[in-house]
Amino acid sequence: MPLTGGVVRPLLELAGLRKSYGGLDVLKGVDLAVAPGELVFVIGPSGSGKSTLLRCCNRLEEPDGGTVIVDGENILASGVDLNRVRQKIGMVFQAFNLYPHMTALGNVTLALRKVQGMARAPAEAKARDALAAVGLADKQAAYPIQLSGGQQQRVAIARALALEPKIVLFDEPTSALDPELVGSVLAVMRELKAGGMTMVVVSHELAFARDAADRVVFMDGGRIVEQGPPAAIFGSPREARTRDFVAKLAERS
């Protein structure tokens, strides 16, 4: 991990982040710092603001207050080039959101070509590498509809990775998958983590959290209620709300 004056500079730093829809306060002041190479695992009941939190990090949702600093840059500053900043922040969605009219290779090359301005040949070479990295070297010509859910999600991960982001945000990446396909996606995420990628993962996969997460964050009602190492949050949570939620999650899985 790169050190600056003995202190690790966070790659992602949220301070006092607030967001409301109409009268509904969804984020009520969230502070969170994610160190380079760290995997932060976010859990919380439905509606607690987990997705909103991730979507504020690349301004898919516009925060109402607070700061979002990515790689040392305040991305809420006026005049910031959002399309440039977003390439540093990969995002993986629950519903994959692959472009159905493009092949796997086309999905991965689009931003390389249109945003980064790469020529076709190098963009495709890079996209092939990204697809190979998620175990789909042989699927580059397939359209999304011809792929299983697990394969589609891995293409989506490759699409994010090809841009060489500093951090990748995962919003329930395996929730839409049949149980037997979950493992292939989690395996790719484990490899990413092992390769040093910084990740924020919203998910219910507790087993994955136990062995891959550096820190677990429990959200409820638009706030971070409790956070700590997986063993602490899952084994001996301090807050009653955390205990209840973890117990429910464990029951379900």
Binding site: L60, R86, M91, F93, A95, Y99, L110, A111, R159, L163
Partner: protein
């Protein structure tokens, strides 16, 4: 009975009249085809331009486009043709029958195409936009590379049907003396004192539009695709 049939053949299937006026109908067919192709090109181009503009310009621009679209979907195409043909000379814009018919049908097709494509753009899932924007594409890039191609595919069946319906309106040009198929056929019929040219016209329309209808069906099945 025998007599009735003979009179029918003489009136509608008269070989002598057909031979004499066939070339005129053919000339008309050339104009019909030119007019149809020009209408499709201009109408679809303008319709797409309006849909893209509406999806990316400020709200008031969208409202202007909606007003245009609603007006031209409400007017009968024949009214537009006649108004353009008779009104424009007064404002010192000479407008031939061909130009008036072409412009009128193109505006009507543009209005319908805009509405169809707009609906298609609206039905592109939000997640598609989010995926595109999250990788750094601008709104316009996401529109052009992600939303429009999906909207176009989704809307092929209604668009093909609407295009065929409007392009058949080339026959309306006969009202402003455009010598397309129907115009040629009606004047030929009165000159010949025999309706056989109208039979030729019907056959000419079939020859032109039946392949288009079949092509339309082929395009619909070819591009029918599920997400």
């Amino acid at each position: 009975m025998e007599d009735g049939w003979a009179r029918f053949v003489f009136a509608y299937l008269n070989p002598d009249v057909a031979a004499e006026w066939g070339p005129k109908i053919f000339e008309g067919a050339v104009i019909t085809i030119e007019l149809g192709l020009a209408t499709i090109a201009a109408g679809l181009f303008f319709g797409m331009a309006l849909a893209v503009l509406r999806a990316s310009a400020p709200r008031w621009v969208g409202r202007v486009i909606v007003a245009f679209v609603d007006v031209f979907r409400a007017w009968p195409p024949l009214v537009v043709i006649i108004v353009l043909f008779y009104a424009f000379p007064y404002v010192d814009l000479p407008m031939g029958a061909f130009t008036a018919t072409w412009l009128a049908l193109s505006l009507v097709l543009a209005a319908f195409a805009e509405e169809i494509w707009w609906a298609g753009l609206q039905s592109v899932p939000k997640g598609q936009w989010e995926a595109a924007r999250s990788t750094g594409l601008s709104h316009l890039q996401a529109l052009v590379w992600v939303a429009v191609p999906q909207a176009v595919r989704m809307t092929i069946p209604p668009l093909v049907n609407r295009t065929i319906a409007i392009v058949k309106g080339t026959a309306l040009g006969s009202v402003v003396a455009l010598p397309e198929i129907l115009g040629q056929a009606t004047s030929a019929s009165s000159l010949a004192g025999n309706p056989t040219p109208l039979t030729l016209a019907a056959l000419a329309y079939l020859a032109i539009f039946l392949p288009v209808v079949i092509l339309g069906r082929w395009i619909e099945t070819r591009f029918a695709w599920k997400r």
